[in-house]
């Protein structure tokens, strides 16, 4: 693949019209842009007609929206929000535990999923394929599958989060290992080092900032999904919130929403700050 690219990029190729090749390329590219834009516009019109969706409805119904919030949701009723703090701690624990356990599993898998360190390219494709499957099927789908087999509760919420975390972190960790670069590994090979010492003394020390950064990012993602997963039957604060919404206790629900949003924002800010610190090292 790379060879082909270089062949094209070669300045004195065998093409007779070497100098005209570049403008032609640009023309082709421009035509491609026009086609893509046209397709997007057509698709928008077709789907709007099909669903008889009016994109301006949000603005027309703005008063209803505001009225609902002002009349039904404000002020938040913390008095009736029983179990708010307990369930919040459950949700946070679920997210942290999924990240922690997922991190350990991904740490072991990522060396098999990186072309630099894997024993064979077949293993790389196998592990990466598995990780993609885990990552690309949304957490909610995993949750539904587990809910049908194990029933509702915090355990299936945790397992659903874990599945996505392993898929995501294995892929990202493998990319970190790929970026460590062949050079220092080659040096350790030349000293006669075996495989495990090479990982322990060269690859892991070089990859640690990347690992920690993705782990922190994963905490942020998992806190956010833990709320939604909970609402769909995964336990924790999301499940209580859903219960209040379904019972039309909007003021109580609003208390839950406020707390959940605050926690998500706070944890996001903290992990962002820590990531910056880690990556600058």
């Amino acid at each position: 693949m790379l060879a082909k690219f270089f062949h094209r990029a070669r300045p004195h190729g065998s093409k007779k019209d070497g100098y005209r090749a570049v403008p032609d390329e640009i023309k082709k590219q421009r035509r491609l842009y026009y086609i893509v834009i046209a397709i997007i516009a057509l698709a928008f019109i077709a789907t709007t007609v099909n669903t008889s969706f009016n994109p301006f409805i949000i603005f027309f119904n703005m008063e209803n929206f505001i009225a609902f919030i002002v009349n039904d949701m404000i002020p938040p009723n913390f008095g009736r929000a029983v179990g708010l703090w307990d369930s919040l701690i459950q949700t946070i624990s679920m997210a942290f535990l999924a990240t922690f356990v997922g991190g350990i599993i991904s740490f072991c898998l990522c060396f098999l999923a990186s072309f630099q360190t894997s024993p064979s390219s077949v293993v790389v494709r196998l592990v990466r394929g598995l990780a993609s499957l885990q990552r690309n099927v949304p957490t909610i789908i995993w949750l539904f599958i587990f809910r049908m087999t194990f029933g509702i509760g915090i355990t299936i919420g945790f397992v659903a989060l874990l599945f996505n975390t392993v898929g995501f972190l294995t892929r990202m960790f493998a990319e970190v290992v790929d970026e460590v670069g062949n050079e220092s590994m080659e040096a350790l090979d030349s000293t006669g080092s075996a495989y495990l010492p090479k990982l322990a003394q060269c690859v892991i020390p070089a990859a640690i900032p990347g690992f920690v950064s993705w782990l922190l990012f994963s905490v942020e993602i998992n806190i956010r999904s833990a709320g939604i997963v909970g609402a769909m039957g995964g336990g924790g604060i999301g499940m209580l919130l859903m219960g209040h919404l379904n019972a039309f206790r909007y003021r109580t629900a609003f208390a839950f929403i406020l707390v959940l949003a605050a926690v998500i924002i706070i944890i996001g800010v903290i992990t962002d700050y820590l990531r910056e610190r880690v990556l600058s090292k």
Partner: protein, 275 residues
């Protein structure tokens, strides 16, 4: 070889070595011996195959044909991983781009030179022996790095990084030291310091040395023997004083176009093989 020393002193013997990438011959039927205590430089244009020869010797690159005898092991043949690692641990390698682990300290990088001599368990956990640590201090101070021992490798200058690379190779206590264009990324003054260090240390410790160089004047000054390579073939193998102007032209004299096309073809084939 018309040298006075007997064949029993031969440390490394390369016979009819070749390396193909597809139909391109990067190394073509190269034979030479290295004896104990020799300082041999290999000169030649980029893409002439100097680096490939070195990498075949410690099997970072698998050769396509020929025989490479070192420590009674044929490095050109398949062998158990343990034999390969044991033989490699006896060959020091210094890289053009230093190839350090830049997040680790100078000391930790130098200790990597011991990994090949330790059990896998100890090496994985980094349990180096006290005598090894003392030797690392000794080597680092003899290379003038005592101030930098606990600095991160990334905080060093180019010349200091290369000295760490040399220290790591010396930690292996090798009988052969191979330096692949050790000064190509350094300024002229630092280059001289590094060449002095390599040759001094090799002589002091009785290590035979192979150095790939671009600078003919350095090669003539430092080596006891010079090999010249052109287009994958060995075209000169003799004493430095016999490397006359004509011989230099012979080594470097291939027309620029021809050599450039060849280096390009080698690169293309290498990429096609890698993926």
């Amino acid at each position: 070889m018309d040298s006075a020393t007997g064949t029993s002193n031969v440390l490394l013997s390369v016979k009819n070595l070749s390396k193909h990438y597809g139909s391109t011959k990067a190394v073509d039927d190269v034979s030479f011996d290295i004896k104990k205590g020799e300082i041999v430089t290999i000169i030649g244009r980029s893409g002439a195959g100097k680096s490939t020869v070195m990498r075949c010797v410690n099997r970072l690159v698998h050769s396509s044909g020929g025989k490479i005898t070192f420590d009674n092991v044929d490095m050109a043949s398949r062998m158990p991983g343990k034999t390969l690692r044991k033989t490699r641990s006896n060959i020091g390698f210094v890289f053009q781009h230093f190839n350090l682990v830049y997040r680790l300290t100078v000391f930790q990088n130098v200790m990597h030179g011991r990994l090949g001599h330790m059990s896998t368990f100890d090496a994985t956990l980094g349990r180096y022996s006290e005598s090894d640590k003392e030797r690392a201090f000794e080597i680092l101070s003899s290379l003038g790095l005592e101030e930098q021992i606990y600095k991160r490798a990334s905080d060093l200058s180019g010349g200091q990084k290369q000295r760490v690379g040399i220290a790591r190779a010396l930690m292996q206590e090798p009988s052969l030291l191979m330096c692949d264009e050790p000064i190509a990324s350094l300024d002229p003054v630092t280059s001289r310091t590094i060449m002095d260090i390599i040759v001094d240390q090799a002589k002091k410790r009785g290590i035979a040395c192979i150095i790939n160089l671009h600078q003919v004047d350095f090669a003539k000054e430092y080596s006891t023997r010079i090999l010249g390579m052109r287009a994958g073939k060995l075209v000169f193998d003799d004493l430095p004083e016999l490397l006359t102007k004509e011989k230099i032209d012979d080594v470097y004299g291939v027309s620029a176009l021809e050599e450039g096309e060849r280096a390009y073809a080698v690169g293309m084939e290498a990429m096609a093989v890698v993926g």
